[in-house]
């Protein structure tokens, strides 16, 4: 598996898009820091971008890589390697190279700006951890979609829809339901609904760490009570891990019956 991982990783590291992605974060980091002149504010702006962008890029890279390397995967399948190892290697290769673009692209400007002397280092690290989770989650989800869809265009469409749903539509439904049912106690509902969407979960995790939860109003207090504690942090990290593990598990189950 490590060999496959290595080659997928090299292959991606050499493609133009990995550099474009890396440069994008690099420029973004520099611009935010030197325009804002405030690490805390830069972290908040970055959060808004990362939370929408990393899932999108992870989804697109995952689907594209799967379909583009289809024939090559067939070559690998004819080698004496276990099926699941081939796909796990590819999956980790994509996720790690995307994560590297993110961490290096944002890390370099922040380190140069003097992150280590600032108190924002924990918030910033949390941001990177969440970004990494989102990469692993969305590459796994998109690989699932690609594995289940023979047609490239359809697969691409489903993957983008999945992203759109989790990044935009889910929030809309969530808000509408809060308005419609506002005469009922909603704290448990909103907590649970948040858990079912990795993007929402990541957003709230960061917002609460940033001490701006007052912006969230009444529900903010409920969230604060839950996520602010170590227990809440532990649970939400656990849920993020589940969001990685479950799609990976399904990938392996799907692979056992798939024809190439």
């Amino acid at each position: 598996m490590l060999k496959i991982l290595k080659y997928s990783f090299y292959d991606l590291m050499r493609s133009r898009w990995s550099y474009v992605y890396f440069l994008f974060y690099l420029i973004l980091g520099f611009v935010l820091l030197f325009l804002n002149n405030d690490v805390d504010k830069a972290v908040i702006t970055l959060m808004n971008i990362i939370i929408v962008l990393t899932p999108l890029i992870g989804t697109i890279f995952g689907v594209m890589y799967y379909y583009n390397s289809k024939e090559f995967t067939e070559l690998l399948l004819a080698q004496p390697i276990k099926r699941s190892k081939i796909f796990m290697g590819q999956y980790l290769g994509i996720s790690i190279s995307l994560t590297l673009s993110l961490v290096l692209g944002l890390g370099i400007p922040f380190v140069l700006y003097g992150l280590f002397k600032s108190a924002a280092i924990f918030n910033f690290s949390l941001l990177l951890v969440v970004g990494t989770f989102l990469n692993f989650i969305f590459v796994a989800l998109s690989y699932n979609i690609a594995l289940s869809t023979e047609n490239k265009i359809k697969g691409f469409g489903y993957a983008i829809l999945m992203w759109l749903f989790l990044a935009v539509i889910y929030d809309g439904i969530f808000l509408i339901s809060l308005v419609v049912f506002n005469s009922y106690p909603l704290d448990k509902f909103s907590l649970i609904a948040t858990m079912f969407n990795p993007i929402d979960l990541s957003r709230i995790l960061i917002l609460l760490k940033l001490d701006i939860s007052a912006l969230l109003g009444y529900t903010g207090a409920v969230f604060r009570k839950f996520f602010g504690t170590n227990f809440g942090m532990f649970i939400s990290m656990g849920v993020l891990v589940l969001w990685v593990l479950l799609p990976v598990l399904r990938m392996n189950l799907k692979l056992r019956k798939k024809d190439f």
């Binding site: 080659y7 050499r14 024939e71 090559f72 070559l75 004496p80 099926r83």
Partner: protein, 235 residues
Amino acid sequence: MIEFKNLHKRFGKLVVLDGLDLEISKGGIFAILGPNGSGKTTLIKCLLGMVIPNKGDIIFDKKSVLDKWAYRNNLNYLPQIANFPPNLTVIELINMVKNLRPKDSDTEELIELFGLKSSLDKKLGNLSGGTKQKVNIVLAFMFDSDLIVLDEPTNGLDPIALIHLKEIIQKEKDKGKTILITTHIMSFVDEVADEIVFLLDGKIYFKGTIEALKKQTNNDNLEHAIANLIAKQYA
């Protein structure tokens, strides 16, 4: 050496292999023929473990291959479409495949033979279809395995490369290897194959030597003899 037992495969409603039984003995060149969509590639992919049959068993070297992977170390495969990661160079790809198999390989001679020396450092994405097919052939023949499976090996090759390909196939046969070939080029079959396996409607319709086929169909020309077999399907 290989035994397909009562093999069934359906893709949705489409029945591709319908209780296929086939035994292939060790040594020699076997051409798997049949009209388009007769299940040639599916049969090969079942053997390789890429397509999972609905029913039946495949025995290779006295062991079932279903759900296994280690047996593929004794098997070389040339896929129909040669498409590689565009960002790797030819030599990197060759080294990678070498790296994936715990086995000795011989590439020098093959690279020389197909004139790939000047392309070794080129990226695979920049190669022409024919050159990619040559790389594909190098990958398929560089290991010393008992079974070699070639799916449309002549695709896109120039005449010189084709002559070299025939030479290699002959050489491997002389070493006692078993070689399975699917192709639509009948002159190629006539030249290299020892035995023909003809697939129709997911079953073996004919298995035997070229001579036997010509006799059975009362035809001196292999192309016409095969056309004769296929015509029955259209009738």
